[in-house]
């Protein structure tokens, strides 16, 4: 009899241990993030991983979202479309991800969007340039974007800033990298300049593997540009400026503030180098900046804290989305939640990031301009948050 009882207890124990799922374990929200941690452009995408690791480590330590941890599956696509496609498919079919994320060159977009549409999983661009399908008034229902830089909007602000700053006639030089997105924006800026009465004296679309930027700078200088505006990856923006300075060009230079901008302003110490962007610099010393810096130093992140803001904002937006997704989560619930997001950015941007049913980009884009001030030996704000309505 004793033997029978013992055997019965063993069977029960086996059942409890191996067959019944642990009652206390919480299933996570699974997010599939395909990112260019290596390869072309990885300098601006790779720090996003650091930001996500820090942000969700803290969230999960505090009990997760709606009582469930968040599991971010990050894989390196090396900026290769085929890798991004394979990863997206794996995330959706094997890992059962409820949301796909992308931070890589635009060449990786199409294959990921194809997977997203096929499996009806929304896709969130966080750090990569926003595809035009997220813009109002008829955005693609599956695509959303939180990235700071935005084609067709950035140049509107940039040119109005240049016009506002100049007391003398403007001879504008334009600089792009010879990739479709940058060239397209600079072509747009050229058209816009004409309509604003700004004379464009030269336009350069510089190929990415360029050993020497001086020949391009020579043309800009010879054309008599007194202002140069560049909307391109940071490498092109800053190397063109440095080449111009080597040629003893004394004009003013405006570039989009990518994540490297704050460190680079301090390195170059150039009073006539202006950067405009959507993210607040650490020189503002906000509470949120202190928190990011502290977390970065504590966890010894690979990238410095000044490069984590873009990723941090995307993580804030993701948290806001997941808060609205009740358990059990499904891609459809996530998609619905993404259609009505209001993410508080705590000063990292000029205002909240709002997505609506007909705007998957943001309703208002806030811009700020910074530069180095030699007199004060620090970075200063030249123009405070300026809203630009996105219709």
């Amino acid at each position: 009899m004793k033997r029978k009882i013992l055997a019965g207890m063993l069977v029960c124990l086996t059942f409890v241990v191996f067959l019944v799922p642990p009652a206390m374990a919480k299933d996570p929200y699974v997010i599939g993030f395909s990112m260019a941690m290596t390869g072309r452009g990885s300098g601006i995408y790779a720090p996003i991983k650091d930001a996500f690791d820090l942000y969700f480590k803290e969230i999960n330590a505090g009990g997760g979202i709606n009582g469930h941890p968040v599991k971010i599956l990050i894989q390196d696509n090396a900026a290769q479309p085929s890798k991004a496609a394979a990863q997206a498919k794996k995330f959706v079919t094997q890992d059962k991800a409820i949301l796909l994320m992308n931070a890589a060159l635009s060449s990786t977009f199409a294959p990921m969007i194809k997977v997203a549409k096929r499996y009806k999983v929304p896709i969130f661009f966080a750090g990569s340039v926003c595809p035009k399908e997220v813009y109002p008034p008829n955005p693609d229902p599956m695509q959303f974007c939180s990235t700071g830089f935005a084609a067709k909007y950035d140049s509107r602000f940039a040119l109005s800033f240049i016009k506002e700053q100049s007391k003398e006639p403007i001879n504008l030089g334009l600089v792009a990298m010879n990739i479709p997105v940058s060239r397209g924006e600079i072509d747009f800026a050229e058209e816009l300049s004409k309509s604003m009465g700004i004379k464009v004296s030269d336009k350069e679309a510089i190929p990415p593997p360029t050993p020497d930027y001086t020949p391009f700078a020579t043309k800009l200088k010879s054309a008599g540009a007194n202002w140069v505006y560049s909307w391109a990856p940071w490498v092109t923006e800053v190397k063109t400026l440095e080449a111009l300075r080597k040629l003893r060009w004394k004009g003013k230079y405006l570039a989009f503030a990518h994540i490297q901008a704050e460190e680079e302003l301090a390195r170059l110490k150039d009073d006539n180098f202006y950067v405009f962007g959507t993210n607040a610099f650490f020189s503002d010393d906000l509470e949120i900046h202190k928190a990011i810096k502290e977390a970065s130093l504590k966890e010894k992140t690979i990238y410095p804290h000044t490069k984590l803001v873009e990723g941090w904002i995307a993580a804030m937006v993701l948290e806001e989305i997941l808060k609205k997704v009740s358990w059990p989560p499904t891609p459809e619930k996530v998609r619905v939640a993404m259609g009505k997001v209001k993410a508080e950015t705590k000063g990292l941007r000029g205002g909240s990031l709002i997505w609506t049913k007909d705007n998957h980009f943001r309703t208002i884009n806030y811009y700020r301009v910074y530069k180095w001030d030699s007199a004060q030996n620090k970075i200063v704000t030249v123009k405070d948050w300026t809203p630009l309505e996105v219709k």
Partner: protein, 290 residues
């Protein structure tokens, strides 16, 4: 004047980069497609030394140059040595694999960030006024001087020294050279070390002039048409080829479109392949054999 300065600086940089391609090909008939990665490693060595050893520029450069030389020796001793006697195609594939490995290691060790060795070296890349309003940067001058010095040393050594004669013998007929008691592996290793050294110098100059990131290896690949135009086994051919490509590239920027500069070297390359497939000073038989 500025256009001429730009051509001279770009041509000099191409000469420095392409020297390594030719040295290795000439000695061992291996086309090293990891040359761009070796070039960027030279720059990373300088950055690392400048950051860790201190800000003494000359010492940092010497250490980084020595490290580049050793890198070439290590690559030969532990990898390419085993390809001796194998088909040229197999050796090229090995260099491609090595390039991928070096790129991965570079990102793992130094991350994808942009680095500026000059910040740590404590020197400035000042600009200097030339005649006719031309301007050249300090590292532009260093590129030109390095090209002249390195090529002068190489030509003199090949012509007048015993090891130079042996290097040429190894390149021209390894079997006979071996029968005459010349240790082939020793001279192959020297050619890899010299190639790594010249590529490293090019990388260091490039990094000091305009910064450093893992994408720098593309510049090594961009210089490749120069080698084919020169003739794969002709060091003397590299000089005119580099300046022709630089001239066409800069004229394209000035008179056609900036985007045209991307294809200009390849237009020259195609033209050369149509007219003289073995290059300006290359050996006709060699290119046919490959």
């Amino acid at each position: 004047m500025q256009v001429i300065v730009n051509i001279v600086v770009l041509g000099s940089l191409y000469c420095l980069i392409c020297c390594g391609y030719v040295l290795i090909y000439r000695a061992s008939r291996v086309l090293n497609l990891a040359h761009g990665e070796i070039m960027s490693l030279g720059a990373y060595f300088l950055f690392t030394v400048a950051m860790s050893v201190g800000s003494h520029p000359a010492l940092s450069f010497i250490c980084a140059i020595l490290m580049s030389l050793v890198l070439g020796l290590i690559i030969y001793q532990f990898l390419m040595r085993f390809m001796a006697g194998e088909s040229a195609f197999a050796a090229v594939l090995v260099t491609i694999a090595m390039g991928i490995l070096l790129r991965g290691l570079t990102t793992l060790i130094w991350t994808s960030q942009d680095w500026y060795p000059l910040q740590y070296l404590g020197i400035e890349n000042a600009s200097h006024l030339l005649m006719g309003d031309g301007v050249i940067s300090t590292f532009g001058i260093i590129a030109v001087v390095s090209f002249v010095v390195i090529y002068a040393c190489l030509f003199t050594s090949f012509k007048f020294t015993r090891w130079g004669l042996r290097m040429r013998a190894v390149g021209e007929n390894p079997l006979f050279a071996s029968q005459r008691g010349i240790r082939l592996h020793r001279y192959y290793a020297v050619s890899w070390a010299l190639a790594s050294f010249s590529a490293g110098v090019a990388g260091m100059i490039q990094a000091c002039d305009s910064g450093l990131n893992p994408g720098m290896f593309h510049i090594g690949l961009k210089a490749f048409p120069v080698v084919v135009v020169a003739g794969l086994d002709s060091l003397a051919g590299v000089i005119p080829a580099a300046f022709i490509v630089a001239l066409v590239e800069i004229l394209a920027i000035n008179y056609i479109s900036p985007q045209a500069s991307e294809v200009a070297p390849f237009v020259v390359l195609l033209g050369m392949l149509l007219i003289r497939p073995w290059g300006l000073f290359g050996t006709k038989e060699e290119i046919e054999r490959v």
